[in-house]
Amino acid sequence: MNHSKDILIIEDESITRTMYVSFFQKIAPEFNLYEACNALEGLCLCFEKRPQLILLDMIMPEYSGEFILDVMEEGISKNILSFIPKIIVVSSIDNANELMELTKRLAVVSVMPKPLPFETLEELLKLHL
């Protein structure tokens, strides 16, 4: 079990990130929030802070959210990682098959559409925080 009080937000758009931050500050004020503006920074923060929860944008320039899932999956399946965060994927992809595939990935607990429905996310967080 991961009992850290940390949440990591990985999203390339700064306005969207700010929106997520104010949402979490309101509904989970006791958590530390970390922000990454690309997948590489996100991966480093993920390993350094070992957050309990990650909100992960799928479509980002250069390295995508998929890249983070690939690395985490490799680390988990080869028993290298000593922690498993809960990842909520945020994606504007509307292809049902692609979305289904994302939910099957290791560490992913939920896939949410973009723009993010905050009420649904709040319900979901009650289960995972």
Partner: protein
């Protein structure tokens, strides 16, 4: 670097080459710890879990290559997310001089050695760093 606290990470997709590197390092430093990864994704996980002080990094690997490994660490250093910086030795079969120069210039890279690895070169390099 202290001789009795050496921790190596070998990131290399070819199992035979991993074994050769491993045997060589164990013979040179019997008390060292050695971790292995067969691609950059495993390598990056090992880097964070095992805190190696020397990394032998192959550039050409299927799926995720050495370039990706360097990209992650360099982003982490530049954003000050990562504090400690292990010595990375790139071991590569690349022959193109320009490409080799570019790898050598990368911030995270300490040295570039050609592949197949000349063990005396590696030994000289390591002995330079180790007290």
């Amino acid at each position: 670097m202290k001789k009795n606290k050496l921790r190596f990470l070998i990131v290399e997709d070819d199992e035979m080459i991993r074994i050769i590197h491993k045997d060589f390092l164990e013979e040179l430093f019997p008390k060292c710890e050695i971790f292995e990864a067969e691609n950059a994704a495993q390598g990056i996980c090992q880097y964070f879990e095992c805190s190696p002080n020397v990394i032998l990094l192959d550039m050409m690997m299927p799926l995720m290559g050495g370039e990706t490994f360097l990209d992650i660490l360099e982003e982490g250093y530049s954003k000050k997310v990562l504090k400690y910086k292990p010595k990375i030795i790139v071991v590569t079969a690349i022959k193109d001089v320009k490409e080799l120069m570019n790898i050598g210039k990368r911030f995270a890279v300490e040295a570039v050695i050609s592949k197949p690895l000349v063990q005396s070169q590696l030994k000289a390099l390591l002995e330079d760093w180790i007290e």
